[in-house]
């Protein structure tokens, strides 16, 4: 643990981009955890002061129902992050399991996993997600499932390719000689070596999952008003941009952008953190 913290410090100080992304990530997590308690206003409470521009009282202004945009943007962090993290975790686990099996055993396992991922990839992914949510029902859980399903092929393919090249490596043969069964070999010897590229995939996908969830609620699927959520807020605010009330859509959009930006930058740092070869 001590060595890990030391390495964490090294990774953060060596690459300023990672440091920036890391602090942004930490901030997002803190806002997600404590957001509802630190915001100045109730995100759902309307007031007569509707459509006020940003001011000292309302940093991000107020919306058409007089709700404080700042509070709503902060509170929305938790929901958006939860959807993204759970969806990515689901596809990460499923992709790792099926991809590793396909890469390790080849043959029929590979063919089946390969064709399933091909089928998913054949659809325009956002349209597929819309279809899944529409078919399963308009709930937050289904947004999570839809996002997980459309992300699955990316993880399965990376895991398959990385496991496949390591299948015949010397250390795998050596582990076989040491009496490891195939499954143990895959789980303890090969898979940990696949983690660094998977982590890069996770971080890129995370931003994408957030966008996807926001996109679905933007078109009215999944999260429903008045729940504070970045996608809905942008959707609702969009109608007011023409009349000059730009802050309604800008701030949630900015939050969305920062979150995606943060996850995209985090990739390299995560990989360095997880790869023991970077520790010197």
């Amino acid at each position: 643990m001590k060595a890990f913290l030391k390495h964490l410090r090294y990774v953060l100080t060596e690459n300023p981009v990672t440091l920036v992304a890391g602090s942004m990530f930490l901030m997002l997590i803190l806002l997600g955890l404590f957001g509802p308690w630190i915001v100045p206003y109730d995100p759902l409470a309307s007031s007569p002061a509707a459509l006020q521009p940003p001011s000292a009282q309302h940093w991000f202004g107020t919306d058409q129902l007089g709700r404080d945009v700042f509070s709503r943007v902060i509170v929305a962090t938790r929901l958006d992050l939860t959807i993204a993290i759970v969806a990515v975790a689901l596809s990460f686990v499923a992709g790792s399991v099926f991809g590793s099996i396909a890469g390790f055993y080849g043959g029929w396992a590979d063919r089946i996993v390969g064709r399933v991922t091909d089928t998913i990839m054949a659809f325009p992914l956002f349209v597929l997600a819309m279809g899944i949510v529409a078919a399963l029902g308009n709930t937050v859980e289904n947004i999570v499932y839809a996002t997980a399903i459309i992300n699955f092929p990316f993880y399965a393919r990376v895991a398959r390719a990385e496991v496949n090249v390591r299948r015949g490596a010397g250390f795998v043969q050596a582990a076989r000689l040491a009496g490891n069964s195939d499954l143990r070999l895959l789980a303890t010897q090969i898979y940990p070596n696949v983690l660094p590229p998977m982590m890069v995939q996770v971080s890129l996908n995370m931003g994408w999952a957030i966008l996807n969830a926001a996109g679905l609620s933007f078109i009215g699927l999944g999260v429903r008003p008045p729940t504070p959520e970045w996608g809905i807020m942008v959707a609702e605010g969009a109608t007011y941009i023409v009349s000059g009330e730009w802050w309604l859509a800008l701030f949630p959009g900015l939050a969305l952008m920062l979150a995606v930006f943060c996850f995209n930058l985090l990739g390299d740092g995560l990989r360095d953190l997880i790869d023991p070869r970077q520790r010197t």
């Binding site: 043969q173 000689l177 040491a178 490891n180 195939d182 023991p276 070869r277």
Partner: protein
């Protein structure tokens, strides 16, 4: 520093002259001095060998001469003069003129150095187009002539070949053709035969030597192999961690090496008559040979009978052929073609052959990592070939047969510490679930293979090649196997490390009474460790017998070719070379 009185071309102006060269690399751990105060001259018509172990700065030197140094590297002092032109301060445009036309380079790995998606002919024409005034219509003829010059058979056919269609030796010939296409004056060969078989190595080196003489080339041979350098070079420059430790005519260097490092290197290079003890210069426990006789019993521990392994030749088993019902027509490729061999208890047997002869397939089958097509693998009377390889890992017999792998880096899991690597078989095979007992055994093993205990917590990338080899050996012997298969255990190591590892293996066998099946391409090394040698070619055994007998009196022509091709550090060859050069 340079013993110029020994050069045959005394007084002539050297074509390449390096003086006081310093190269630094900026890395995460600070500045690394890759080359310090390097200096040597090369004259027309001579071959100078730059010899050193990995990390000695020899490749950096070569890259520097050609001006293709990595951007992290920086020349911080010294001069590289090529025909009066200062290469270090010369503009890139001038260097581009020199590269290929006046100075050429042959790289380590010909397959990587050639562009895989273009034909051999195209690649030669590229060079010709850039550096010569040959007309377009004559270009093809010139390219074919260049291929012909490196003695490629049917150059017209090979002109249209892609690199993947050619063997490694053939690719290296193409590289030489590329390098010599524009008649350069200086040729730099950076480990030109690494990864090639010994017989191929000999033909390639002979070719370089002949072409060098024909064209009066100045050649710089960069190599880690002292034997190879002694066979072909007139003068040698020995490098150690970026510095020249000695520089002299080949004969002088071998008969009277002055620097301790040179002495160590010469000692560590196996010769025809050297014994294991000679390699490290330390006295080994006496009577090791007699001890071997005593422990070798008449009972075969392992006996392989009529072993056959076929692989699908792949070519016509595609879906189209299968669709047409022709998949069965393809004759499978026989990697191992009915071989039988015995390894007695306590005996050490060498299995020698060149790449593709089936020795690795055989060892994989014996290790039970691969299923044979036919035949028996009798271990202590029990036929292990009946147990499928897929389930063998969980059988009690797994403990009895272990293996030391060829590449110590590749065979260690990059995410496991040395401790965990060694402990893994203990946990799985010996069932030592008690962490304290396991740790005790790991320390004992580390001690046995001479690995400092404080290195156990390190990851493979934090260990040196020799240390990784020790971890690999410790892991293999951890469960006290009765048969240890050594798959070229020293081929990735420097000679001085190889000497230590070979000695370690000999000691361990004496101490633990294991049997060895030593798989290697190098007869010289096999002879040191094995009493009996089996020579394989194209899946069959061509010769078998006591090591000393096979080496001194080979019956099979293939064995003879193999023995001849191994570059020995022998004084006679150096002598002959020196004599041949004198009248010139």
């Amino acid at each position: 520093m340079t013993d110029t009185t020994m050069t045959p071309t005394e007084g002539a102006i050297p074509i390449l002259s390096i003086d006081g060269l310093n190269v630094d690399f900026r890395t995460r751990g600070g500045v690394v001095h890759a080359v310090r105060g390097l200096g040597f001259d090369v004259h027309r018509g001579e071959m100078v060998g730059v010899v050193g172990e990995s990390g000695s700065g020899k490749s950096v030197t070569a890259f520097n001469i050609m001006g293709i140094l990595d951007s992290a590297g920086q020349v911080t002092g010294g001069k590289v003069m090529f025909r009066g032109l200062d290469l270090i301060n010369a503009p890139e445009s001038a260097l581009r003129q020199i590269r290929g036309r006046e100075a050429s380079m042959i790289f380590q790995n010909p397959r990587v150095a050639l562009n895989p998606i273009r034909t051999v002919g195209d690649q030669i024409e590229d060079v010709l187009r850039r550096h010569t005034t040959i007309l377009r219509r004559d270009m093809k003829q010139a390219a074919i002539a260049a291929l012909d010059a490196v003695r490629i058979r049917d150059p017209e056919d090979r002109y249209n070949a892609y690199p993947f269609e050619l063997s490694g030796g053939m690719c290296q010939r193409v590289m030489i053709a590329l390098a010599l296409a524009c008649d350069p004056d200086l040729l730099i060969a950076d480990e030109p035969t690494t990864g090639l078989d010994v017989t191929t190595q000999k033909t390639i080196m002979d070719l370089i030597q002949d072409l060098g003489r024909e064209r009066n080339l100045a050649t710089v041979l960069i190599t880690h192999d002292l034997g190879l350098a002694s066979r072909y070079c007139q003068r040698l420059v020995v490098m150690q961690s970026g510095e020249v430790v000695e520089s002299a005519a080949t004969m002088t260097l071998f008969t009277a090496p002055r620097h301790p490092y040179t002495q160590k290197l010469i000692r560590a290079t196996p010769r025809l008559d050297s014994r294991l003890a000679d390699l490290t210069g330390e006295a080994r426990a006496a009577g090791s040979v007699s001890a071997e006789r005593a422990t070798t019993s008449a009972e075969p521990l392992l006996s392989v009978r009529n072993l056959v392994k076929e692989f699908d030749s792949g070519a016509s088993t595609g879906w189209f052929a299968r669709l047409r019902g022709k998949g069965t027509d393809a004759t499978p490729f026989r990697a191992v073609d009915g071989i039988s061999l015995d390894v007695m208890a306590g005996e050490s047997v060498g299995l020698v052959g060149e790449s593709g002869c089936g020795k690795s397939t055989t060892s994989s089958i014996v290790t039970r990592l691969l299923d044979p097509t036919e035949g028996q693998v009798l271990f202590d009377g029990q036929d292990l070939a009946l147990i499928p390889a897929a389930g063998f890992a969980l059988r009690p017999e797994r403990k009895q047969i272990q293996m030391v792998f060829q590449d110590p880096t590749e065979s260690l899991n990059p995410r496991f510490t040395a401790r965990r690597c060694i402990a893994d078989p203990l946990l799985r095979l010996a069932g030592m679930s008690d962490a304290a007992a396991r740790e005790e055994r790991v320390v004992e093993l580390a001690d046995m293979v001479g690995l400092p205990v404080d290195l156990l917590g390190r990851f493979p990338h934090q260990l040196s090649g020799g240390q990784k080899a020790r971890v690999g050996i410790a892991r293999a012997i951890s469960v006290s196997p009765r048969l240890l298969i050594l798959d070229e255990p020293t081929s990735a190591l420097d000679v001085s490390v190889q000497a230590i590892v070979l000695n370690l293996l000999a000691d361990l066998r004496e101490k633990l009474g294991m049997s060895y099946l030593f798989v290697s391409h190098d007869l010289n090394v096999v002879r040191l460790l094995c009493s009996r040698v089996i020579v394989m070619q194209a899946g069959r055994i061509v010769e078998e017998g006591p090591a000393s007998e096979i080496l001194s009196n080979p019956r099979d022509p293939y064995t003879r070719a193999l023995i001849d091709a191994v570059p020995h550090l022998d004084m006679d060859a150096a002598n002959r070379l020196a004599k041949a050069e004198e009248p010139a």
